[in-house]
Amino acid sequence: MSEAQPNPAVQVRKRRGAELVLIVVALAVAVGAYAIVGITVTGKLSQQVLSYGAGLAILVGIAHVIVRIMTPYADPLLLPCVVFLNGLGLALIHRLDLTKIENARANGESLPRADAPLQLTWTAVGVAAFILVLLVIRDHRRLQRATYTALFAGVGLLLLPLVPGLGVRFQGAQIWIRFAGLSFQPGEIAKVCLIVFFAGYLVVKKDALALAGRRFIGIDLPRGRDLGPILSAWLISLAILVFQRDLGTALLFFGAFVVLLYVSTERPGWLFVGGGLFAGGAWFAYIAATSLHIPQFSHIANRINAWLHPFDPQYREGAYQIIQSLYGFAYGGLLGRGLGEGHPNLVPLAKSDFIIAAIGEELGLTGLMAILVLYGIIVERGLRTALVCRDHFGKLLATGVAAVFAIQVFVVVGGVTKLIPLTGLTTPFLSYGGSSLVANWALVALMLRISDQARRPATLPAAPTEDALTQVVVRR
């Protein structure tokens, strides 16, 4: 049993060097992609490569130094993976910009605005948020005190787009706010708040929620009186669906809540309850839209019809995006057309929702798999952090962050590849979109903070109860 005692000869490897090497490789890939698309689309090396590479390298360098100072024991893989995805996303957005500009030039139109510089600016904001989270939150357990503050902040942010004059409707969904000329998706920040709330709430309530109720085909279902929280989460998700017409966000929040409920109570019954509620809600929405013709649900019917019958002329219009994206994947094949050699611009919203289609077309299945493996690594590191973490709140928080990334990637990639109905969510770090980028960088910072505490040698931070005086048992 000598192994359980801290051994001075054994040092915890911080692996910051490995992180640096991986970051350099990731930067090289991103800048390489940026250079390649310039050469293949316009025929010459674009002169912005240097400024772009330097900008990205400085941002990432600062982030790395902050990680070295603030969280020396943090997981070494998260930051490189994020840098890789963010850098590749920037290169793809630049590639789509170039085609748009070429097309405009060929047609003699006025040149459209390039989105890549804006996305680089948002990356800078994201890295700033990352650093801020690392500097401000020295101990993730502090966040537990803000459980209900986080709830109100999250719900408030979710409701913000519904405020008249502030909210903007785009593509049917009312999830943007426009403020001082910038449009922002408050739901992305709400995501961070709600994960904190879910974790803090379930840490306190998990024992009550873990009580088993009726047993049904070998599964312990939860007790009826404990269904309150999951029902409210379900109703809030349905409200998002109806009033903001945002299927993706509704699915994301409800899914994350059910996952955390399952993880905190260790009761698979919750997964069945959650799955049943979700299936019931989806079925109700579909019936409400197709048979009852309730206009609030029409977009869901469109999405489901476009998913089931994309090539049916009746639904051709609604399924246009999916058809284009499927053609893109088919054209890309196993190895892809090569960066800058395909036509990803033919897919609507190629920069944001359909960036996966652009990757599938230009990098093929081989490239797409690499991207998916990277997302898998991010999620795995998150769950690993949760396993190693010593406090329950940190465990749930890390699981929540990992679950959000996993659900988001699954929903987006599943939607674009026609595995599930298409829902509007951004691909984390790849897609064009400032709010999502900033929120995801903040989430990664949170994960690094937890993993730093989890991987720190056990002797340094004493568990909170260890220093307290032993309570005396009172005998009556």
Partner: protein
């Protein structure tokens, strides 16, 4: 630009993409298998309760594990070797119990001649074997509840 160059660029980029993925995987690999604990060199250890790879050989009939059967840390299981085991709330204890009625170093379990003895280390609330409070090393057979604070520990075969 010739078709060949483009193909080379395309395949090269895919190769670099996977190179990155594989190098991240190799970092994970060294995380899993890289516990090189060569005496003066650096090794890696995760700060979680390390599992001994193989419990030392023991004779038949001797308890093989101490299990927390009741209390906040219920389910915690520590294999018994041939070294003493400290029970307490401190993180340096082998049987680290998250129970505020347990002292930092509460009791110790030690083997002698094939039998395990529990001894109180001057704890605040005392140690109980069965129903009675112990005042010296007391033999503990498997299945006999040892109570520290609000936690009950049993030895299992």
């Amino acid at each position: 630009m010739s078709e060949l160059t483009l193909t080379i660029i395309k395949l090269g980029f895919l190769a670099v993409l996977w190179l990155f993925v594989l190098s991240t995987v190799s970092v994970i690999r060294s995380d899993l298998f890289g516990s090189r604990v060569t005496p003066p060199a650096r090794g890696e250890r995760r700060p979680k309760p390390a599992k001994p790879t193989r419990p030392p050989r023991r004779r038949k009939g001797e308890p093989s594990a101490a299990v927390v059967v009741q209390g906040a840390s219920a389910g915690l299981q520590v294999p018994l070797g041939d070294t003493p085991l400290a029970i307490g709330r401190g993180s340096e204890c082998e049987l680290h119990i998250d129970d505020e009625y347990v002292s930092t170093r509460h009791a110790v379990l030690r083997p002698q001649g094939g039998t395990w003895y529990v001894e109180d280390l001057g704890s605040t609330n005392g140690t109980f074997v069965g129903e009675s409070r112990i005042h010296g090393p007391t033999a503990v057979g498997s299945g006999i509840p040892v109570r520290v604070g609000k936690t009950i520990i049993e030895l299992y075969k």
